[in-house]
Symmetry: C2
Subunit: 219 residues, 2 copies
DNA sequence: CTTGTTCGGGAACGCTGTTCGCGAACAACG
DNA sequence: CGTTGTTCGCGAACAGCGTTCCCGAACAAG
């Protein structure tokens, strides 16, 4: 029934044996491990080994592995550089998306976390605040602005995920089946599409996001 | 190095001991289990127990748990009812999204699979073919149409996921932290937004998707 | 020095995906 | 009918997982 998110459970008083590590240290170790070997490698035991300690010790800093994943997401979100918003809103939002994509490409495990869990930590909250600030002069109602924030994150993560998976095996598999589906003959439009164009066209990230944002917010 | 996807690995010849079950039966059992207890409950042992057999037996029908998840996704995609496309493209695509959302709400484990893995099985391929058929008369190039297909699926899944998580604990946690962030005072726009509007406004699915599609494809 | 409190972490529990290998079941062939 | 080839069912085992228990150690305060 602990409805309190990770970020609010803070360090106890200065009494008792002092902790040898900090929550930030644990988070950093988990991020380093994920960057090196992927999200699946982030187990409590592996993270603990990274720190030269035992798995059970981590539970002094984190309530569960899921909490640790939330901390990782939010910590990366600290990498946004958010200047004071000025000028028209579209370039402002595009800059946010551009930075988001870069962070996600640098941390290939991030898109999965962003897409499947929606926890907003301190830095995520700052990002939302910045987005609302960019849209401060826009006439859309609050609901649509929040919706825009969610769509931006989702689309950026999905885009980054595609880019990351694009070169590896996942796309080959799909390609293999699509090729089979084409030769079967019952998918004329698909056949026409895939023979008339490169299989994986260079995705135009900013153009696509821009169109979506204009669709949502007008102008 | 098996680049062949699940759907192409077919039943062997009629030689040897006949199988007691079928791949479809295994898939159906996994779906039933996921519907009842969620995706986390879909372990090889649990699915096997559902069928009254041993866990190792499943590997006669499926190469891995991931394969089974792909089969589950595609099997649900068989639930689309795709009439021959006619009329303008926007209502045609909206109907696809509407059906997708309904399927995902009926199978709460689907959004996660759609968002994180992009495998296209036979029924997914049919859906793509249908989408391209609806857009047959549209002047956009092939790349943008494929992109539109991906965005439709992603957005629908993300929307459904939010609806499914909306009432449960996940949103409470977020709300708890956001409330804290507001009282801290450093997020004026956020504070204004969350006090001037209901915390979780009724999401207007079709309106949002419609705006995004028009943004991507024009008109 | 004692007391209160916290931290570190080995050990254990129940679970997971997957592999191995053996016995059983069947089709085809002689 | 018997033999052979092949597939299937699946118990047992392996390595790994998240998490909890619990006890000894380490410190602050009195």
């Amino acid at each position: 029934m602990e409805a309190v998110p990770v970020w609010l459970r803070e360090r106890r008083t200065g009494v008792g044996r002092p902790a040898e590590r900090s929550r930030a240290e644990v988070t950093a170790a988990a991020i380093a491990l994920a960057d090196r070997e992927g999200l699946a490698a982030v187990s409590m035991r592996r993270v603990a080994a990274e720190l030269g300690t035992g798995a059970a010790s981590l539970y002094r800093y984190v309530d569960s592995r899921d909490d640790l994943l939330d901390l990782m997401s939010d910590e990366v979100a600290a990498g946004y550089e958010l200047p004071a918003p000025e000028g028209p809103w579209l370039p402002g939002l595009l800059e946010v998306c551009r930075q988001g994509r870069e962070l996600m490409l640098r941390h290939g495990w991030l898109p999965e976390l962003v897409l499947t869990r929606s926890a907003l930590g301190p830095h995520g909250t700052d990002l939302l605040e910045h987005t609302l600030a960019v849209l401060a002069g826009h006439p859309a109602d609050v609901g649509r602005k929040l919706e825009t924030f969610a769509v931006m994150n989702t689309l950026t993560a999905a885009f980054a995920l595609n880019e990351l998976n694009g070169d590896s095996g996942a796309c080959r598999r799909q390609g293999a089946y699509l090729a089979h589906a084409i030769t079967a003959g019952r998918h004329p439009h698909l056949a026409a599409a895939l023979t008339s164009a490169p299989l994986v066209p260079a995705p135009r990230f900013e153009d696509t996001v821009s169109r979506v944002l204009v669709g949502l917010l007008g102008q």
